[in-house]
Symmetry: C2
Subunit: 499 residues, 2 copies
């Protein structure tokens, strides 16, 4: 069973096309071997299965495979038909009505209940899904049917892979090390007063000692990566609008984990007086009243850290000697709505990350990724002395768009860095490094002077994750920390004491 | 005309109180000079204006002034009446019904249309507002009527002051200085490529040069304030829940300027599949669908920076030698929905602030505020060489709760730091320093070992504001910057070049 398209359409004409009947039939007959197979492999393309020249127009049935899709076929016919009718018969084509469009997509199993725009129905029979599309000329021109097919094909692939498990290929491992500590570090840190839960879910307040460790990590990143590799610091925005996520691709799938942001409908104090008064009288915040006074979400809180940087480059052309371009940001928080339950510091809704972004030619980007890998290896081996490993996984942007799959090694893809958590004998992803191909320069329309294809990459250093991995292996007592790290931390600040 | 309360209530009894009639009347008659005037000045308090001993209970009318408010009076009567009826007649009091409650509040003018909970009507007659309250025993016990009166009295005060203009008293001024620059700095910085607009409103992306200046400011704060005064760094959360704003007082009035945060109703990918599919097919984000799939707001983005720190101390007792406690945060963004129109960097919706918090006894907090003032004076005079002034203004927390007024100098209050913007000859508030009295330790229930009253203060250093004031007076050319500052900045990083 193969992909199959069956469309029924009518070219509406400005007058009875009867006088042109023979010419029309000839044109459509010839089309099979010309316009309807152009660009398709031998024997492939679209076929006209019936034609009915009526007083109002020309009704037509087309069947096709994936090469010249039936809706493309109907578009291809418009111009020659209009030429024929106009030149010789002074008849115009008023439009094209699509009365039926059935698409058959092979699938080993049915998909669940789905609500997909422009899809009237979807039935599963004999190893295939049959979709009835409700589209007109405008939707065909906007390529809606093509995107529906891709979407369904992705779902079919995902369902036959049996879910969303990420791919994972080991690249390197430090090997087993002895660990000074085997407890869950979070409750230990809480006991010591280094961290306390914040008021919101998955949120921590860091006391002076925990903050000092974060700053020590930051210091390592600056001294070992930022300075030697020549990164320049920028400040990336932290409220991210739909427009940015459309260009970055996150609009394809990031919805379940976003903290959404809604502005007030107006800043007029009188509009809000009722809410303030309600609170002042009852000491309860009137959440329903507030919900009615705010706008729909304009976007959400920072999720992946680099997308809101890209509007800085959007639509620009950069000089060739400006590459590789290396910039980083450490100016604020990221937020993800994580799955329920009580987590420690290793899985949080609000976290702090140093984000590094690199861009250049393919060669420059791949070479830079190698440089970064060496730097990270030095840090995790020689300064933090961790038990860790690297794996080649589904690119983060694919995962965040709800896709699976794995790219060729050494090209586009993501390296996950994982550390063993001795207290539960599980691995924790504590940072990643990705080569994202041309995705971002393309999405944000960034060009190079010489018009060479631009690639980019990024690496997110999650401070909560570094800390979780480090404490899990070394514990919170500096006596058990590597000398190289203690030298950077210096003396820990005194914590806030309670009675 | 004075504040006046008139309540009609019925003590519902478990049996006909007729047999106790004489004793009841005697008790109520005696009450005037005892329980109904206890604690009130001579001649003041509540008066019973009528009593009706019925078969179902005791109906009563009470009139009062502000000293023993009629609703308090009725509460005061319950216990003695219950004692009398229970002991001698085995009759219980089943409850108290309030059938009418009128409160007269003097006002020079009517207030506008208001929706206040538990207020049935509000009429303006003869120099006073007459409110009819719809309250029962439970509302009285929760002190709802008292909060309604305070609210209306605040509104009356505000309306007679003619609005919400902040108070302002000059404390110190640098005097006039010559300026090297007289343009609006924002468009100049944009031209130079130092900053670009972010995708959201009032949001900027900072290039390497602008970021370097922010880091230079941060360096000054660390070297001149953090280190010499002994501040310890912490990480304060950036998503703020209602609970925090209830305790900090912001729930009283901050609504018009908040960016609200709504989590997804669930993280289940199937629940969101429809949204992702809609986007993938149409390339439009289905905002209405999303709005129906998110929860009501759980709070908002960081507004004032210190409130979400306080849960770290909440409910704790600190040792006396732990004061003054000095902590600061620079871990993320603050967000305010500012009034419309295009602003430069000087008025933004997303900004970066170093927030300093200090706590101790009243003496310690006031002394520390003096120390801070000296440090700031040194920075603005000797390093940044600015034309600036300090003014004593309505405390920020009062302003943010929608209140006006001015505290005695040298006690609770806010100092605004303002710099002249030569291009428009206006002053820009570029930071503040506040002594907040016992508000925060009380709101978050923090105690000292010796049970001395704790005070706190805070100071917000807005980097966008420092930058706006500095550039406005000095321009973006380092040749025109003070040597002391250039020494800190060092060589500016190269910007990102575009063709």
């Amino acid at each position: 069973m193969e992909l199959e398209f069956k469309i029924t359409g009518i070219f509406r004409t400005s007058a009875d096309p009867g006088p042109a009947r023979e010419a029309i039939l000839t044109l459509l007959k010839d089309a099979r071997s010309t316009i309807l197979s152009k660009g398709a492999p031998e024997g492939k393309g679209a076929r006209i299965t019936s034609v009915d020249v009526d007083t109002n127009g020309i009704a037509i049935n087309i069947t096709s495979d994936r090469y010249v899709r039936a809706h493309d076929a109907i578009l291809r016919l418009r111009k020659p038909l209009a030429g024929l009718l106009g030149k010789e018969h002074r008849i115009g084509i008023r439009g094209i009505d699509i009365t039926q469009y059935l698409v058959t997509i092979p699938s080993e199993q049915p998909l669940g209940e789905l609500k997909i725009p422009y899809v009237n129905s979807m039935e599963y029979t004999q190893g295939a899904l049959v979709l009835s599309l409700d589209v007109g000329l405008s939707e065909i021109e906007k390529r809606i049917p093509d995107r529906i097919i891709s979407l369904i094909e992705d779902k079919v692939t995902a369902s036959s892979y049996g879910g969303k498990g990420e791919h994972w290929d080991l690249l390197w491992s430090s090997g087993k090390k002895a660990h000074q500590f085997n407890k869950d570090p979070t409750p230990e840190l809480v006991k010591l007063g280094w961290i306390k839960r914040g008021a919101s879910r998955g949120q921590w307040i860091h006391g002076p000692q925990s903050t000092a460790i974060f700053r020590a990590f930051e210091h390592i990143v600056i001294e070992e990566i930022i300075k030697p590799l020549g990164y320049r610091e920028m400040i990336f925005p932290k409220l991210v609008t739909w427009d940015v996520w459309k260009r970055s691709g996150h609009a394809k799938g990031v919805y379940p984990e976003i903290y959404y942001v809604c502005p007030p409908k107006t800043r007029d104090p009188e509009f809000w007086e009722e809410v303030a008064d309600y609170y002042k009288v009852t000491l309860e915040v009137p959440i329903d009243k507030i919900a009615s006074k705010i706008d729909k979400p304009i976007g959400g809180l920072c999720y992946a850290q680099c997308p809101p940087f890209w509007p800085f480059l959007q639509g620009e052309t950069l000089p060739d000697d400006g590459f590789p371009l290396l910039v980083f940001d450490r100016s604020g928080t990221s937020h993800r709505y994580e799955s329920g339950g009580i987590h420690g510091m290793e899985r949080v809704d609000e976290f702090h990350r140093i984000e590094l972004v690199f861009m250049g030619t393919q060669e420059q980007v791949l070479a830079h990724s190698e440089d970064m890998q060496k730097k990270y290896m030095h840090i995790f081996n020689d300064i933090l002395d961790m038990e860790w490993r690297m794996a080649w996984v589904t690119p983060w942007f694919m995962a965040q768009e709800g896709l699976t799959g794995l790219a060729d090694k050494g090209s586009v893809g993501t390296i996950d860095y994982e550390a063993i958590m001795p207290y539960k004998d599980e691995w924790l992803e504590f940072q990643n490094l990705s080569v994202n191909g041309d995705k971002y320069p393309k999405g944000f329309n960034v060009k190079s002077q010489s018009n060479q294809e631009l690639w980019s990459g990024c690496s997110g250093i999650g401070l909560e994750r570094w800390a979780s991995a480090f404490y899990a292996q070394k514990g919170p007592d500096p006596d058990n920390w590597p000398d190289a790290f203690n030298k950077i931390v210096g003396e820990l600040p005194e914590g806030i004491r309670f009675l």
